[in-house]
Symmetry: C2
Subunit: 513 residues, 2 copies
């Protein structure tokens, strides 16, 4: 690196930006886990201040000069050279962050704070009319923001690209249409079956023991507790202050054993991704997941592909039963496996099962595009939500509270770019799983013996350690040998739920061609 | 305030400095309570970065210009006007922070990091020779630092003034001499007595229940859990991120009930001070204790004057016994009260009882002055320590580990200015207590009934809410009617230990005239 002095100086400058963000993330983590209620006003000021300082340090014209000099230094290097990749992602982030005028950012955050506050009152009151004018302003700001971020074929493209670089409306529309076509009939067939008994999951499980069990499994998966920890919160998340301090959060219900288990497994997948980054990326912009969708693929893989599998529970269920002997005395492994995979179509995304989850995402994605395109007016959105749910999920919410007011997203950030990552993650999780098993065919058996190292090691080598070195589409091609493809995911869902619900082949239970 | 535009602009500037410090304190708190070990390197960077940013924002020449303009605006106001006080303490801090060259600060922190690291290795190895050259450098840096902070009658004065503004070696020497004269013979008489039985304090008390009991009492004292919380740590402390988020920490031993109780009570006193500040001081430099000694007076009052009193335990002991019925079944209130006040002279300051604690402080204070004056060479310090302990405390440490290597202070910060506050706090706690009881004579009885509001309310009104509005000597005079005076403290100790150990009057058991 000695012969790349501009790169070196750029690294030093950006290190402070990354460290300021990491410090700010600690304030956010504490706010969501340990902060007493009185701390809220000062905390909001301090988080905003650190964000502002990180922004100011990043958009400093000196960073622009160093970037230009660094680009000259790395001009001859291959695209997957670490230094070249570092300059490339720094340039991308720099352009995005300098494209947005400070006056817009102030107006945007001011509006979002007001919008969020109103939502916290309007949702319990089921008062959808109150948020309509705010959402109209949010839509307007979202379009303006997309405009700053650059010209694109579709107004949503720049918003999507911030989270999932390389993905576009043009690419996602057919992908989501294919999922919708396949999942709607499959989910209806499953919903028509008698659901398995899952009443024993509600027998009263002390929360502390649930968290300890879930964390012990996450540690077995590969989540490193010397560089992480688990805390309860309201809305679980994973968050990182450095590569070596990556924390996960969870929540639980004494009357539902699933909540703590699958929240913890999910967040441990995100946590392992960041813990698995190459240590040399510390305090650089390479120290992050390749994209929101690739990140989500890791959480969904451990939550669903591993955590809801028969192989995993053949290893873990005896441990769980010895932890909760009274509650699970009369429960067999197969009953338990069926119960944690029960399908019950509902109106709430965050409580959706694996099979219907993407239908919730698809509804939101479609409505967002229609709003941004101007084909749907905000005042018509509440009814459009209900109609779309009837159409896609097969039932309507009994209130706007559980309808258009359900998610915080549209009331705390721009419209567009937030939801696609969830479904991209599900699709990629299946492709990555298949690639891992092609390379290490014993992975399913290893999991059945409680040996998660082959899968974790594969994800670490093929995905985690690379951080943002490869652009997402490039990473996907390197790992899977091709582009994003819903076929493996749909085949997995058809096989799994076909077997669980003993569906006849034909009529929706076969994998699509 | 509309007619004080410079004051208003100064406030806004300094608010960011205070908020950056508060954010940095959260990083420190997390480091000492929840951080996984892997987080250490990034955390050190992030804390240093926030400290540097706070420093840069404070010493900005624009702050100097605004200060001058603000001083003109408040020129006609009385000294105890809040705006005038704010400008005064901001000027004082500004002069101190701008007096120290950045190059010195870098050299100082670099040396201290190395010194601390060496101490962590040298102390377990009892290798005092290894730290001698480092301590010589620390002494040299401490003298240089004192020089930057301004001319003074004694080289230690500027260092003492940073923590305890208004206090000088000339004032503290006679105060400490008087304490030494009175406490040495009293402690020897008590040590010659048969100590009360305290074996029942070591019967195995689960830590969680200890912490819960101690925190419940701290909340009854007045520590507000909606604006604070308690966490275990290695070296307990109180820390504030804003007036409405003030956290305390504690530690405990299953085999010694005292540790968690009195650490928690102590830190709750610090916590109540900060929670009790006038809310209008939020994000200003008035939002702190008047001095280190005044702060310590509050922690010592709740730890000792309340927490080790017979009145308090007449209320709290039945609760404690119902919490630990097996361990305390055969213990009576009077036995318990004697056991938590047992006197056993030792060589470790942090384990010292109330009666001998100040002797430990006096040894350090005397040695610091001799070092700074050049009358004692660092190479002679280990032996001087042992000789002074024999002289003052009555026994020598069996190793340098428990001698001169005992405290982290000399290996992590400058020599001078750190220790006097502990004893000033003890002395002031007695004076403040007497003033409170003069005004509200029922306070001791109230405490016996578990009503702590009269004492807490008095400290809040007379001391806490004022923050740094009054200089410490001024505050002491307003609250007590006179200067700092050891007589009430010595009278209290003579009365208390005379009664507990049934000492005859005369021969050291009387209060001094």
């Amino acid at each position: 690196v000695a012969e790349l002095p501009a790169c070196e100086r750029l690294r030093a400058r950006v290190a402070d930006v990354v460290d300021l963000r990491g410090a700010g993330f600690l304030l956010t983590w504490d706010q969501a886990t340990h902060m007493p209620p009185g701390g809220a006003p000062a905390r909001a000021r301090q988080i905003a201040l650190l964000r502002q300082l990180a922004h100011e340090r990043f958009v400093d014209p000196e960073v622009g000069r160093l970037l230009a000099a660094a680009e000259a230094e790395v001009a001859g290097l291959p695209a997957d050279d670490v230094e070249a990749a570092l300059v490339r992602v720094t340039r991308r982030d720099y352009e995005r962050e300098t494209a947005i005028p400070a006056s817009f950012t102030r107006r945007f955050f001011h509006h979002m704070a007001a919008s969020y506050q109103t939502w916290t009152e309007a949702r319990p009151a089921d008062d959808v009319q109150r948020v309509v004018p705010l959402l109209e302003e949010t839509l307007d700001l979202s379009r303006t923001l997309a405009g700053y971020l650059g010209p694109a074929d579709h107004v949503a493209d720049p918003l999507i690209a911030r989270a999932d670089h390389g993905f576009t409306v043009a690419a996602l529309r057919p992908l989501f249409a294919r999922l919708r076509e396949a999942l709607v009939p499959l989910a209806r067939r499953v919903a028509a079956c008698e659901p398995p008994d899952d009443a024993f999951l509600r027998r009263g499980y002390p929360l502390g023991a649930q968290f300890a069990f879930a964390l012990a499994r996450a540690a077995e998966f590969g989540y490193d507790l010397r560089r992480g920890r688990l805390d309860p919160t309201h809305h679980p998340f994973a968050i990182e202050f450095s590569i070596d301090d990556v924390r996960i959060t969870t929540r639980g219900r004494e009357d539902d054993l699933r909540e703590a288990l699958f929240c913890t497994f999910h967040e441990s997948g995100h946590g392992m991704y960041h813990q698995g980054l190459d240590g040399r990326f510390e305090a650089t912009l390479l120290a992050d997941g390749a994209s929101a969708g690739v990140h989500e693929s890791q959480s969904r893989m451990w939550e669903n592909r591993v955590g809801r599998s028969h192989a995993f529970w053949s290893y873990a269920f005896p441990k769980l039963r010895s932890e909760f002997p009274e509650q699970l005395a009369d429960v067999e492994l197969d009953d338990f496996h069926r119960a944690v995979n029960v399908v019950r179509p509902g109106t709430i995304r965050t409580r959706a099962d694996e099979l219907t989850y993407d239908l919730h995402v698809i509804v939101r994605f479609e409505l967002e595009l229609e709003l941004l395109e101007g084909r749907l007016a905000v005042r018509d959105l509440p009814d459009a939500w209900q109609a779309r749910y009837a159409d896609v999920v097969g039932l309507e919410a009994s209130s706007h509270r559980d309808g258009v007011l359900q998610d915080v997203h549209w009331f705390s950030r721009e419209i567009g770019g937030a939801f696609q990552g969830y479904t991209i993650g599900n699709v990629l999780a299946a492709q990555f799983w298949d690639a891992a098993v092609r390379e290490y065919p014993t992975i399913p058996d290893d999991i059945g013996r409680g040996d998660f190292a082959p899968l974790h090691g594969w994800t670490q080598r093929r995905i985690h350690r690379l951080g943002r070195v490869h652009d997402p589409l490039d990473l996907i091609a390197r790992v899977t040998g091709g582009p994003i493809d819903p076929a493996p995911y749909l085949a997995y869902l058809h096989d799994k739920y076909g077997a669980l619900y003993r569906l006849e082949t034909g009529d929706g239970a076969d994998p699509p061609p």
